[in-house]
Symmetry: C2
Subunit: 657 residues, 2 copies
């Protein structure tokens, strides 16, 4: 039935410059000096410090922002709305989506969303859907006139919007949405219609109760044409401003979710709903007054690619929320581990602090290191977004980072909850409740597994281009052009880069060859040929994304001794270098330790793997004296922590009953 | 600060018979015949089929058992109580804790708890706390007269009890509880007292509202003695039968948790509460009418060990609930993957079923295979519990299985939820809500990480005994006596056994040597010496438990060609052998693939690891045609599935609004 042999493609791997793998010992790391916590906190925040401080001030000062577990979704939604209103009342949204400097406006919004997500992911998502997805679609897909007409209302919250892309029948494959927009020349309107129950818009955040407008994505049919012109975006009123129903629009509630119940996800059916011609977002495609359709993109598929590029930025926001919530969980768990004791060496000695157990350090500290690396790489990506970064590189990074970072965050929050024992399971201690809210991030705005396949597809395209150009690879694959140097010391970021590159240099050509072999089979389609090798494709994406992430960290911080090809753009204060070097190294070791593919493919020897595994414990032990500072580096103000981050006995005392 | 070299212990590893590691190809597996689903379902249930059917009939037939997400804890608790009352009303608890045949009574209770947990983990835990922990303590720690006096009331629910062991300050280290029981000779009573806020009983299921009695664990002080006689168990009234307060008892609510809010976890303070002398559970220790204390155990520590053995059975129940809930999640996700489509090869071909994506199969099917292996091994453990199994072996198995199986279940439910996309996040689709409820199982009745350390301590003790006897190892370490045979074919359970044994044969002696070296350092304690090597100890426990589990499966099913040392106790119908052989093999491959320690330690070569990794895909592909049957093998009746296991579009249709 099955035989355990290598796939046929393995034999056809082209030779690439791979030096032998050899165990080396690292130079001992320098002793870590005291941490410059304020500088580290600024580094973690990255940008818009004043805005973040203003959001925190509103949240800290208002009873509306206290936590109330166990409420009905109606109460939770009302509370989310009240919080949003208080942020608006403080004037925080001025100069965001309607700002003259669009990039500055986006950065300010990011800062608001990220800070809100430290407390309440529903609040973050509710605002993101309105400002970044609804408003962002108008900004990205609308004409300048449309943007000028609508964005001020979006910013002022007088035009409350939602983002109606996903359908019950089409989630990941958004290109296949079935909602129809038929242009009616006589009436000079589009008519939106939901042809089947599978085509109902589904999961639309804000649609259940709060939104008055939607940006609705639909297949555009011009008169007399049987074929769609592709997916287009329309600004559609779904409720009157007073909440009254609108003819042709049917709305329903998606009901309870595992978390995030402050967001009113809803369902939309269109019943021959008329939409003015001017409400087609017309930056790339439009219908003129004579009823003539024109499009700047060469094909419906190309138009879809442009249209969906608005989503890439959303993925960065999701990754950022994940990293932020992991920071909260780690700060709480670390502080608990610095107070909580269990078991003693002898009946007369005090019990041992949790953080003095090697397993406890091992569970928390490598994840803390990765969280700092992720935050840094993400801040760097945001800074380069739309500027130094091509659309393609931005797409790859946003897909890869979103997947790796949300999974990392969910795993970190799970480990942090377990590290706090039963207390981690209490709602008031936040970790578990936040984890339940963040859980959806693994599958929304792109299922992580599907997004990683997109990373690999991009790698394969780059690899094919390199092959066609006679074996000159460029961009993120530039390393394939050079023989790798001798292996660097094991306890270094350079060793992880070296190992990941070795792995990529084998996995990627092998995958390309295997797909080519499958594609050459009779009756094969490119889709089937790629699909057959999904598991190997996933391994490529994991390696490629970890490389991107680590190199971005090294480049942005000037750490790692330049072995990562960092351009020395180093924007961090010199006082942070030892900390970032140590955490970067711990992260790098954990990435190598975590990935058995590196061993299977021969990029890492078993002896080196054992040395990496052991070096992690050494670094965790070395960081132990800095644990309280590291908790502070997570950059979470006290009011966003939890009772177990302070005196848990006093909090639970009889006197407080 | 840290250098990446092997720990000192590595050099002192004694030579053990390890043949060289060599890549081999497996014989192709026979084609899997159609699955005998009814036989497989009986196999999964294991025992007490009629009782399970009776519980399912009550649950299927009553509106009380419909699901209502998003309720307050008060409503959820009331619903749990109503469900319990309906089961009691059906006479299901007759002949359980008070049965003449105690083992049969326990098996019947297990069947009831396991079946309840398929729907509502709160119901399962609420009942388990009362029957298995409260009633089980009376049965295990009480005299025959005490059992006769109290167990009928426990069975009839007229004496509703809770289990008051954990304190705010002492969870994992229950030996350190601080609650005091002082014998007052003049009054011939014990006086229970909570000396500090840290000593309040905490997380006590049932204490917030429902329980009237507690088995309370306290340090016993005899008159005039400063030292405790150790932890003893007392039957204490905490509320009147009508719910009224009792003098000397203060109760409070633990509040909201991430899940499991149908269980009313509470807190208890004792204020010099008098407890009759006869309410000390007196099987192993007692105070006679003359006020004289006698104890059958040689020391307070030994008494504690005996006292806590009542908990081991509880761990099996927790593992069983985990496996059961993983089965529900897998049944739902598999059925969804057999209906849901996404992406097409060409615009004119139908979209692809999720289960026709190799990544999707890879995420679900190995976990399904492990779930079947876990269920089988657990059924086998229950059958041997208290009979063919020593107390020590039972303790090791219950600690190891509980840890591995609950983590596996939580991971499986997470993957299943992600495999269902946003629908998996909807409360009505059950997976996420069940996962949140089960989450606590990773840390209650023993933190998994701590329990695994206990597995390793037992291995070390066995290893030391073998060493002292001149190198003759026995029991689960018997394999250390023999040179391992040549490696079996890779796609076999025998290969996993071979590889895990190779790893254990290196990891365990290395750990023992490292601990010995640490213990020999000046000022070292045995506690500190063991603690210093916790991370290596964890690896030993993982390998040892997976071995126990796989060998138990092979032995209980007669599969795997006898390479696992199975005694051929095979209690399964011949028609199931091909299925169990295939699933056992897939599980075995996944266990090897999952554990990089096997590569690091040299028990698995990189080439073999690659072959194992690839063989998993082959087996998943081979199982694809059987997917619908495999969903049925999960043994979950339709009414316990979820809307997405059926026609999701019809369920969400406009007509149903």
């Amino acid at each position: 039935m099955v035989s355990a042999t290598r796939p046929a493609g393995a034999a056809t791997v082209p030779a690439l410059p791979l030096p032998p793998c050899a165990a080396t010992t690292s130079a001992p790391l320098a002793i870590l000096p005291p941490i410059d916590v304020p500088a580290a906190q600024r580094h973690m925040e990255g940008h818009d410090h004043a805005t973040r401080a203003a959001v925190l001030a509103v949240m800290a000062g208002s009873p509306t922002f206290r936590l109330h577990p166990g409420e009905s979704k109606e109460v939770e939604r009302a509370r989310t709305a009240a919080r949003w209103a208080e942020l608006a009342g403080a004037g925080l949204f001025v100069d965001t989506v309607a700002a003259a400097d669009a990039a500055a406006g986006r950065a300010k919004l990011d800062a608001i969303h990220e800070t809100a997500s430290l407390l309440d992911y529903s609040l973050c998502i509710g605002m993101s859907v309105h400002f970044s997805l609804f408003g962002g679609s108008i900004a990205a897909l609308g004409t300048p006139a449309q943007a000028a007409a609508w964005l001020p209302g979006v910013e002022a919250l007088t035009m409350r919007g939602c983002f109606a892309l996903t359908e019950l029948g089409h989630g990941s494959n958004a290109r296949g949405v079935e909602t129809e927009a038929r242009y009616d020349a006589a009436a000079d309107t589009f008519v939106l219609h939901t042809p089947t129950d599978a085509a109902q818009k589904y999961w639309i955040g804000g649609a259940a109760t709060t939104a008055r407008w939607a940006v609705a994505f639909a297949q555009l049919y011009m008169p007399g044409e049987a074929a769609s012109r592709g997916v287009h975006a329309f600004i559609v009123r779904i409720r009157e401003d007073d909440g009254a129903l609108v003819p042709g629009i049917l709305l329903a509630d998606c009901g309870y979710k595992v978390g995030l119940n402050g967001v009113d996800n809803g369902r939309i059916w269109f019943s021959h709903a008329p939409v003015p011609r001017g409400h087609l977002l017309a930056r790339y495609a439009r219908v003129d007054a004579a009823g003539v359709y024109t499009c700047d993109a060469p094909s419906p598929d190309a138009l879809f690619g442009v249209t969906m590029s608005a989503l890439s930025g959303g993925r960065i926001g999701i990754a950022a929320s994940g990293v932020g919530q992991a920071r909260v969980a780690l700060a709480i768990a670390l502080r608990y581990a610095l107070r909580r004791r269990a078991f003693a060496a002898t009946p007369t000695t005090p019990e041992t602090l949790l953080l003095d157990y090697p397993m406890h350090r091992r569970r928390l500290l490598p994840r803390l290191a990765s969280t700092v690396v992720h935050q840094t790489a993400l801040n760097d990506l945001k800074a380069r977004w739309g500027r130094a970064l091509s659309a393609k590189d931005g797409h790859v990074a946003s897909c890869g980072f979103k997947s790796i970072m949300t999974w990392h965050a969910l795993e970190t929050m799970q480990v942090a909850r377990e590290a706090c024992g039963g207390q981690g399971y209490k709602s008031e201690n936040r970790i578990g409740v936040s984890r339940a809210a963040l859980d959806i991030s693994a599958t929304f705005e792109g299922d992580n597994t599907v997004l990683l396949q997109q990373v690999t597809k991009s790698c394969l395209a780059s690899y094919a281009r390199g092959g066609k150009s006679g074996g000159r690879w460029s961009g993120a694959l530039e390393h394939l052009n050079h023989p790798l140097p001798l292996p660097p010391p094991i306890a270094s970021m350079a060793f992880a880069v070296y190992t990941l590159r070795r792995a990529e240099a084998t996995l990627l050509p092998r995958l390309a060859a295997a797909i080519a072999a499958s594609a050459a089979e009779p009756g094969a389609t490119p889709f089937a040929a790629f699909t057959a090798h999904q598991v190997a494709a996933d391994a490529v994406a994991q390696v490629h994304t970890q490389l991107l992430l680590l190199v971005a960290f090294m480049s942005a911080t000037g750490t790692g001794g330049g072995g990562g090809g960092g351009g020395g753009t180093a924007r961090v204060p010199r006082s942070l270098r030892p900390l970032l070097d140590t955490l970067g190294t711990l992260h790098a070791l954990a990435v190598v330790d975590d990935n058995a593919a590196l061993l299977r493919v021969g990029a890492l020897s078993p002896a080196d793997a054992a040395a990496v595994h052991d070096a992690i414990d050494g670094l965790c032990t070395a960081l132990r004296p800095h644990a309280a500072e590291l908790a502070a580096v997570m950059t979470v103000p006290d009011f966003l922590l939890a009772p177990i981050a302070f005196d848990v006995v006093a909090h639970n005392s009889r006197a407080r009953l």
